[in-house]
Structures are given as structure tokens and as C-alpha cells.
């Protein structure tokens, strides 16, 4: 057997991190099965009441809304991110490449809260978009964008875009250009070449990007909290509203456990659905 000199050096920190995560999850799960004692920080005895309380339609609605917003955000991010990633990979001008990269990556250097407050300035009734539209006479009254799903999704797309572009760019960069040249030499135009060669070969990047964007958005908190203003609620907001703001940690834990199970479930479905797509790709 081939010696692997760095095996343990790499495995040990990973195992320690994994252990820490497992302990935290075990604590979370344990808390979800404990009773809430009003006026006290200490949870009571073991109970299934927290999970029984989740059976109300309200929670199903918020879970469904979270999946819907995460899905739409992932798709919108893909639609916006693909051309950007394509331009980033295919442009030959270094200055342009650097400019695209900087513009794409910059949002990652801003805190989520700062980014979200900026969106309030853009989306508000007296914000940038409404001011411009009213100035040019396209609208007479401001369009309500704050505290709507549209506003939340727009801000989430912005937050998620860097991740999507980086993942798509990695996939696009690995495509062997000879396939495209072969298609062109056989008479395919640029659109046909893109649709029949480039796009299918970038499928692994699309799947990875969609999955990551979905999972990334699923746990979003600050953006729906501030842009949604309590009118558009995702799972994390519900955990905050019902758990942390009211000290009911057992119920917050049960919501988190349910959310975690839902995330795993949705990601598993995504994985199954994307298998044929992934098979098209070169990797």
C-alpha cells in the first residue's frame, strides 16, 4: 500500500472539526426534546411537545415559503450569474477580466447587514429605483418593493451571486474549447454551439451552483429580516422570532432540527433530479 505521509496531519483537524459539529448538533437535538419553562433559562424534562407544536399550518407555510424563495433565488442567481461567469472566463482582456472579478467578488467583502441596508436605500419608496422611475415619468406612485418577496429575492440574488459566478467560472474554464471549435467547423453558429456544446458541458457547474445557492439562501437571516420586515419570513426568521427573541430555546431548537431535516431532504431531491444533468458534463 502506498504510504500517505500527510494523511493524519490532514485528517486530524478535519476529525476534530467534525467532532465539534457533531457535539453541537447533538446538543441542538437534545434541546429540541426538552420542555420550555416560562421565566427560566433552564429547560425542563424531555417532551415531544415542541415538534407537535410545529404541526400548525403557519409553520408549514413558512417552510414552503423558505423552499420557494431559496429555489427562485437559486434560479435567478444562475440566470444573472451565467453570462457574468461566461464573460469572466472567455474575455481575453486582462483588465476586463480583473474588473469583472472585482465587481463580482466585492459583495463578499461587505457584511451581510451592510449590504442589506444598502438594498433598503435602493428598494425603498423614496429609494433609488422608485426615484429614477418617477423622475423619468414611468410611474406616478412608488412601487412597493420593500417588505415583499421581490425585494427579498433581489437582495438575496445579490448576496448569492459571487458564489454562483465563482462556481460557474470554474466549470466553464474546464471546458475543452476543441469541442466548440469542432461544432463551429461543422457549421454550427455561436448560439447553437453554446446551446449544444457549452451549456451541457457546464452542467456540473450549474448543478453545483444551484445546490450551493439553494443551501446558502435557505439559511438566510439578515436579508429577509430587514428587507422582509416581518412580512416575508423564512425559517431563520421564525427561529429568531419564536426562539431567541422570546428565550424559548427548546422550541427554537426544534425549528432548527426541522429546518435541517428539510434542507437535507430538499438537497437529496435536488441531487436525484440533477443526476442526469451532471452525467452530461465532462467531469
Amino acid at each position: 500500500m502506498k504510504a500517505r505521509p500527510f494523511f493524519w496531519a490532514f485528517v486530524t483537524p478535519a476529525a476534530l472539526c467534525g467532532f465539534g459539529l457533531a457535539v453541537a448538533l447533538a446538543a441542538l437535538f437534545q434541546f429540541s426534546l426538552r420542555a420550555y419553562v416560562p421565566g427560566s433559562l433552564e429547560p425542563g424534562g424531555f417532551t415531544l411537545e415542541n415538534f407537535a407544536a410545529l404541526m400548525k399550518p403557519l409553520y408549514a407555510r413558512v417552510f414552503a415559503e423558505t423552499v420557494w424563495i431559496s429555489g427562485v433565488t437559486a434560479i435567478c442567481t444562475l440566470l444573472v450569474g451565467y453570462p457574468v461567469a461566461f464573460a469572466l472566463v472567455r474575455t481575453k482582456r486582462r483588465v476586463l477580466k480583473s474588473a469583472i472579478l472585482i465587481i463580482v467578488v466585492t459583495p463578499l467583502f461587505l457584511g451581510e447587514v451592510v449590504r442589506t441596508y444598502s438594498w433598503i436605500v435602493v428598494l425603498g419608496n423614496n429609494g433609488f429605483i422608485n426615484a429614477v422611475l418617477m423622475k423619468v415619468g414611468l410611474i406616478a406612485q412608488p412601487i412597493q418593493m420593500m417588505f415583499t418577496r421581490f425585494g427579498v429575492i433581489a437582495a438575496l440574488v445579490h448576496v448569492t451571486l459571487p458564489i454562483m459566478v465563482i462556481m460557474l467560472a470554474a466549470a466553464l474554464a474546464h471546458i475543452d474549447r476543441d469541442f466548440e471549435r469542432a461544432a463551429e467547423s461543422l457549421g454550427a453558429g455561436p448560439v447553437r454551439t453554446f446551446l449544444t456544446i457549452t451549456l451541457p458541458l457546464s452542467a456540473p457547474g450549474i448543478v453545483a451552483g444551484l445546490t450551493t445557492a439553494f443551501a446558502w439562501t435557505f439559511s438566510a437571516f439578515a436579508t429577509p429580516q430587514l428587507i422582509g420586515g416581518g412580512q416575508v419570513n423564512m425559517l431563520s426568521n421564525l427561529v429568531y422570532q419564536l426562539g431567541f427573541a422570546s428565550f424559548n430555546f427548546p422550541f427554537a431548537a426544534s425549528l432548527s432540527v426541522a429546518g435541517l431535516a428539510l434542507t437535507f431532504g430538499v438537497l437529496a431531491i435536488l441531487r436525484v433530479l440533477s443526476r442526469p444533468l451532471e452525467a452530461i458534463g465532462p467531469h
Binding site: N126, G230, S246, N248
Partner: protein
């Protein structure tokens, strides 16, 4: 022994005496858990300064949100990372109920003799400053509605214009109960009334900055707002009118307690005494436009006359709706859950 030698020995002895009898706590440092930002700066510029003058001891701040700090206190139960904690009155009860606070001996806090009755929250924590949650609105954007009662919030003209805190519904729950003939203890009486308010909500703000932004940009021209935030925004040039409804405004008190297990309890008492010092209290009230919790604080006249700043026993009695702090600590989860399920979602 020469005169010079005697003089030198005397000087040395005097120096030693000064070192020994000077500020007894000069080498000590008191660790204080408090919210970050303007609250930490406020305490640093007022009480901590006075405390340093009186004891020579320094103050170190550990900052964080209300719940983060509560969790940290719970995790370091027997070896607290802070000696003193500032928190809200009802969360202070959670500290007390969980045995995280020392029982206070107010005989060690001479300035506490002048505390208003409403600031004596529990045997474990006392008030440091007070504020109200009340109706604040933009008169330039809300022109046809007048506010004299909490009931005015239900007016149909305010449809889609109102914001309230998402982290604490207790103000509206207590008010709706009052308007329905109940009180905070019988809050269910106000459930139907509160549901009628739902169409008027445009958003729920998540923190002070969010509240300030939403009223400043006119997104929510009416708010159930923290008086101090309203005054801050007025200072920034935002036209806001603050109303004390005829039923009164909902009182909030931030409090202070000594952490059980603190090794600097004597110093902690000296700090609490500095916080409730009348000069410090006046300074805090003037800076934040809140109410002092001692009767002998002398406020600037233009601050003393502001709505929501209470300086007389009559104001405390007639203009403040006080939700029992212990009840609030026990009911917050229930209220929060009901509010989230029936009003916010």
C-alpha cells in the same frame, strides 16, 4: 541623623502613606457587560468616568446583544466573565431566576436612597435609566390623523403605515388588553383587538437602527417607537412627533445587577452608586433624552419638558404604563409566539 536625612525619610514615609491610603481600588478593573455602540459609550462617558474619579479603578466593557450576553452568563455561571451586567428589566428577572445575580444590599449604594419606586425592580437588580415605547409619527407624511389615544393606531387611514418592534410585542399586547378592559396579566382580552390592527402594519423593525431608518425614509411613517430613538432622529433633522397617549406610554427600564461569583463585589457596589449618582443620572437623561431613576437629578429644562421624560412622581404615575417586569419575563415567550403566529405571519 542629619536634617536632610530626616527630611528624606519623612518624604519617603509620606509617599508610602499616600500609596497605601490613596484610592483603594486604583489597581483594580471592573468588568461590565453591556450592549455595544452608543450604550457602551454612554456609560463610559458618564458613570465609568465618575467611578474612576471616585475609586481610581478602571472599567472594561464586554459587549453584546441582550440574549448573547444572557447565554454567555449562563455558560460561565460560577466564574462570570463580568462583575456587573446591564440588561432590560424583564431579562434581568431571567438572570435573577436562574441564580446569576447577587442579591443587592442597597445600604451599600447610598445614592439608591433617592431611587424612584418604579426602579426598584427586584432584590437583585435596579433601574439605571428609563424610556417609553409610544406613538411616534411623521407629521409631514401623516397629515389627517391626530393621536391622543393608543386607539388612534387602529384608524383605517393608517392602513399599511405602521411599524412596531419584532423582538418584543409586549407593548402592543398590553395596550390592546387595556383598550379591551384587561391588562397584561389578562392579555387574552386584547387578542381580537390586536388582530384588528393587522391591516395597519407595514413592517416590523428588528433593532434600533432599523426603526430609525424606516421612519427617517418615510417607509413606515407611524411607529410604536422607543422615545430615545425618536429624539435621536429628531436631532438628525427628521420631523417626528412623539405622543404620550392619554392611557400613558409603555415604560421600559434598563437595569443593573452584580453577577454572582464576582470577586469584586465591593467595587461593583461603588459602580452602581456611580450610575445612580444624581449628576450622572442628569447627564444620561440629557444625552439620551430618557428619564432619570433618582428623584434628585437636575435635568436641563428643555430635556425635562420632553414627552416621555419623567421627572415628577405624578408623571411616573400618570404617564407610564408599567408591565410587571416579572410577569413580562414569564410571558414574553407566550406573547411572542402568539404575536408571530397571529399578527406577523
Amino acid at each position: 541623623m542629619s536634617v536632610a536625612l530626616v527630611a528624606r525619610a519623612s518624604l519617603f514615609a509620606a509617599g508610602v502613606c499616600i500609596m497605601l491610603t490613596g484610592p483603594a481600588f486604583a489597581q483594580d478593573k471592573l468588568t461590565i457587560s453591556i450592549w455595544g455602540g452608543s450604550w457602551r459609550d454612554l456609560v463610559a462617558a458618564t458613570a465609568a468616568k465618575k467611578f474612576k474619579e471616585q475609586t481610581g479603578a478602571d472599567v472594561e466593557f464586554v459587549t453584546g446583544g441582550t440574549i448573547d450576553r444572557l447565554n454567555k452568563a449562563k455558560l460561565s455561571r460560577d466564574n462570570p466573565e463580568s462583575d456587573i451586567t446591564f440588561t432590560t428589566s424583564h431579562v434581568g428577572w431571567l438572570y435573577a431566576n436562574d441564580g446569576l445575580y447577587e442579591e443587592l444590599d442597597l445600604a451599600k449604594v447610598p445614592n439608591a436612597a433617592n431611587l424612584v419606586g418604579q426602579a426598584k425592580i427586584s432584590p437583585f437588580h435596579i433601574g439605571t435609566w428609563a424610556y417609553v415605547y409610544t406613538i411616534g409619527y411623521r407629521p409631514d407624511l401623516i397629515k389627517d390623523v391626530t393621536f391622543t389615544s393608543w386607539a388612534d393606531l387602529w384608524k383605517p387611514e393608517l392602513k399599511g403605515k405602521l411599524a412596531a418592534p419584532d423582538f418584543d410585542p409586549s407593548h402592543l399586547i398590553a395596550v390592546a388588553a387595556m383598550l379591551s378592559g384587561g391588562d397584561a396579566a389578562t392579555w387574552q382580552k386584547g387578542e381580537a383587538k390586536l388582530k384588528e390592527l393587522k391591516p395597519n402594519f407595514k413592517a416590523f423593525y428588528t433593532n434600533d437602527a432599523n426603526s430609525q431608518q424606516l421612519i427617517a425614509n418615510g417607509e413606515t411613517p407611524v411607529q410604536v417607537i422607543l422615545s430615545m430613538n425618536a429624539y435621536y432622529m429628531m436631532g438628525e433633522g427628521v420631523p417626528i412627533k412623539l405622543v404620550i397617549p392619554k392611557e400613558g406610554a409603555v415604560l421600559g427600564i434598563d437595569t443593573i445587577g452584580i453577577m454572582k461569583g464576582s470577586k469584586k463585589v465591593d467595587l461593583a457596589y461603588r459602580f452602581i452608586n456611580a450610575v445612580v449618582d444624581p449628576e450622572v443620572q442628569a447627564e444620561i437623561a440629557n444625552l439620551k433624552k430618557g428619564s432619570p431613576v433618582v428623584t434628585n437629578a437636575k435635568l436641563a429644562p428643555d430635556v425635562a419638558k420632553l414627552p416621555g421624560v419623567f421627572t415628577t412622581p405624578e408623571q411616573w404615575k400618570e404617564q407610564a404604563i408599567i408591565i410587571d417586569h416579572k410577569l413580562r419575563a414569564e410571558k414574553t415567550a407566550e406573547w411572542r409566539k402568539w404575536f408571530a403566529e397571529n399578527i406577523m405571519n
